[in-house]
């Protein structure tokens, strides 16, 4: 037995432990927690931070978070939403509108946004699923609903129209910099805050996946008619999926609005935002719990590096997004997380055809 086999057997017996997912999660999130310090280590005289700044890491976790939220609906139930910017923007706008215009604490505004987004999600779902919209048609409908919110807000002076909101100082709503104010004076606390967000949505995603709800979601994704024939109330569970997903996506929008200085209809509701929010899940592996996180670590830094290094070529980051999306969807619809398994299958096939002793 080679040492590689020993390692593999060791891993396998670890994998069968009941608490394996918890331990793996702890290791993964421990690694993420250490990441701001890891990037400052000198590697051969070059700091990793030169390529991977704390800002990029925050952005990476934001999109890992939103992709995780998107995944609970679209990855699990198979109802592909192309309009999650609606929920993201609603979260951002609810938070800012309440804190700027009424000096209401952003944490409160965030949950208001989550509630409103969930209701909007239920409305979209109710209308679409009642009329059995699926696949591309459903995706287009969600896009239309997202654009609708953007148009409405652009034309509403009560919500500052196209100008959007400028994030207030904590003292404007009787708070001091810190967790309670949802504002910090440096990026590091922001990093740990979004890491906390990511942890919560990941635990929720994992819990959903490992309950009957998850199995019903997957059954609906695979074949709605077959699922219904054994008692799965598909309509209700699709609504549940979109509500959970919209709620968490809105919280991500709230975070976004408290991290960046301004929000405008054409940033948080941007057409392209719909893609950014979901792409990590598609690249990483839709329907898996780690896929969105891994996907974001591939997609987000890459597009950031492209955007900052080729400033002369406008929109190159989007070209990279587009290229990635096409390649993944065509060649690896199960995402990057399926690669080890595919590699093993390939290895078995190559070794099998090479003639065994």
């Amino acid at each position: 037995m080679s040492s590689l086999d020993t390692v593999r057997d060791g891993y396998r017996s670890f994998d069968e432990r009941e608490d394996a997912p918890v331990l793996k999660g702890a290791v993964g999130f421990g690694l993420l927690a250490a990441l701001p310090y890891i990037i400052e280590i000198d590697v051969a005289g070059m700091e990793l931070a030169a390529a991977l700044s704390l800002k990029v890491l925050i952005l990476t976790l934001i999109y890992a978070y939103t992709a995780q939220a998107w995944n609970i609906m679209s990855g699990y139930t198979g109802q592909f939403s192309f309009g999650h910017a609606a929920f993201f923007g609603i979260g951002a706008y609810a938070t800012q509108a309440l804190v700027v215009d009424y000096a209401i604490n952003p944490w409160f505004g965030m949950f208001v946004g989550g509630g409103v987004a969930a209701l909007y999600g239920l409305l979209i779902g109710f209308l679409s699923f009642r009329f059995n919209l699926r696949g591309h048609y459903f995706a287009l409908a969600t896009l239309a609903f997202a654009e609708l919110v953007r148009f409405v807000i652009v034309n509403m002076s009560e919500l500052h129209g196209a100008n959007g909101y400028f994030k207030p100082f904590p003292r404007d709503y009787d708070a001091a910099y810190g967790l309670l104010a949802f504002q910090f004076e440096s990026d590091l606390p922001y990093y740990y805050l979004i890491l906390g967000f990511l942890l919560v949505v990941t635990v929720v995603s994992w819990a959903v996946k490992n309950s009957w709800i998850g199995l019903y979601f997957f059954a609906i994704r695979e074949d709605e008619r077959a699922a219904s024939s054994v008692g799965v109330p598909a309509f209700r569970y699709k609504l549940l999926g979109i509500a959970i997903s919209a709620f968490f996506t809105a919280l991500g929008g709230a975070y976004w609005s408290m991290y960046f200085n301004t929000i405008r209809p054409d940033t948080v509701f941007a057409l392209f935002k719909n893609v950014e929010l979901l792409l990590p899940a598609v690249v990483g592996g839709p329907g898996t719990v780690v896929g969105p996180i891994i996907g974001s670590f591939i997609v987000t830094p890459m597009s950031e590096i492209a955007r900052t290094s080729f400033t002369g070529i406008n929109g190159l980051d989007r070209v990279i997004y587009g290229a990635f999306l096409i390649v993944i969807v065509i060649y690896s619809p199960r995402g990057v997380v399926s690669w080890p398994e595919r590699g093993r299958a390939l290895y078995r096939r190559v070794r099998g055809s090479g003639g065994e002793e």
Binding site: S229, G231, G287
Partner: protein, 262 residues
């Protein structure tokens, strides 16, 4: 009660003798109209507890349409359907499944990217929200159809024969009172068919009533307590298998069409 009028009307076609048990599934004057096409017209039928009833007829006779009406894929345009004495006519598929009626599909519908046991668990979750309990029920049903050793394989990778058995396991995991089987033996090898007939009998022993669409006449005549014949959306005969094959209208429908062993 509707049940009484139904049972008294039912045995009029063909000689039936005494039917055991109370009626569990009743269709009363069921009709289905698709934009100008009459797929079903005034079909009555009952399945009694513990019976295996065969549903036969030439292609396009409306057998699958009747299944779809009963199982809630779409409601019938006319008539009523009762399950265990309760009306289910306008209920949706998942509601009907929860009342105790399960079905399989003519073209198998495995949940491809789920494992074999997960497929059966979807059915088992009708009774419990706990994964571990659902898994237990699912494993029992997989053992019943002989798929227990393939529990962790992806359903999409099974052969047609295995997929048919998986469909049966998934449906049976809901512990149905009535099970509708739509050509579950089509495409099976002779030995697989024989095993399937064995499963039918064991299901009946458990008290499950079966309504079976099948094209294999030999099999259906062997297994069925009663046979219902549809032609052109209408019911043309009902009775014991032996009497039905001698029924002139039935011979006409088949010989005039494609013959028995089509």
């Amino acid at each position: 009660m509707a049940a009484d009028s139904e049972t008294s009307r039912e045995p009029t076609e063909g000689e039936t003798g005494e039917r055991a048990g109370d009626p569990v599934l009743e269709a009363d004057g069921v009709g289905k109209q698709f934009a100008g096409l009459r797929a079903l017209e005034d079909v009555d039928m009952t399945v009694h507890r513990g019976e295996i009833v065969g549903l036969i007829g030439p292609n396009g006779a409306g057998k699958t349409t009747l299944f779809n009406c009963i199982s809630g894929t779409f409601p019938p345009s006319e008539g009523r359907i009762y399950l265990d004495g309760q009306e289910i006519t306008d209920l949706q598929a998942h509601q009907i499944a929860r009342r105790g009626l399960a079905r399989t599909f003519q073209i198998t519908r495995p949940l491809e990217e789920l494992t074999v046991v997960e497929n059966a668990m979807v059915g088992a979750h009708i009774h419990t929200r706990r994964r571990s309990e659902a898994r237990e029920i699912a494993m029992e049903q997989l053992a019943f159809v002989g798929l227990a050793d393939r529990a962790d394989e992806e359903a999409g990778e099974l052969t047609v024969g295995a997929q048919k058995r998986l469909e049966l396991a998934r449906a049976v995991a809901t512990r149905p009172t009535v099970l509708l089987l739509d050509e579950i033996m089509a495409g099976l090898t002779p030995s697989e068919s024989e095993e399937m007939l064995g499963l039918f009998r064991r299901l009946r022993e458990r008290g499950t009533s079966l309504l079976v669409i099948e094209h294999d006449m030999k099999a259906i005549m062997k297994i069925s307590d009663y046979v219902k014949v549809l032609d052109n959306g209408r019911s043309i005969a009902f009775g014991r298998p032996k009497t039905v094959v001698e029924n002139e209208a039935v011979i006409e429908a088949y010989v005039g069409g494609t013959g028995f062993d089509a």
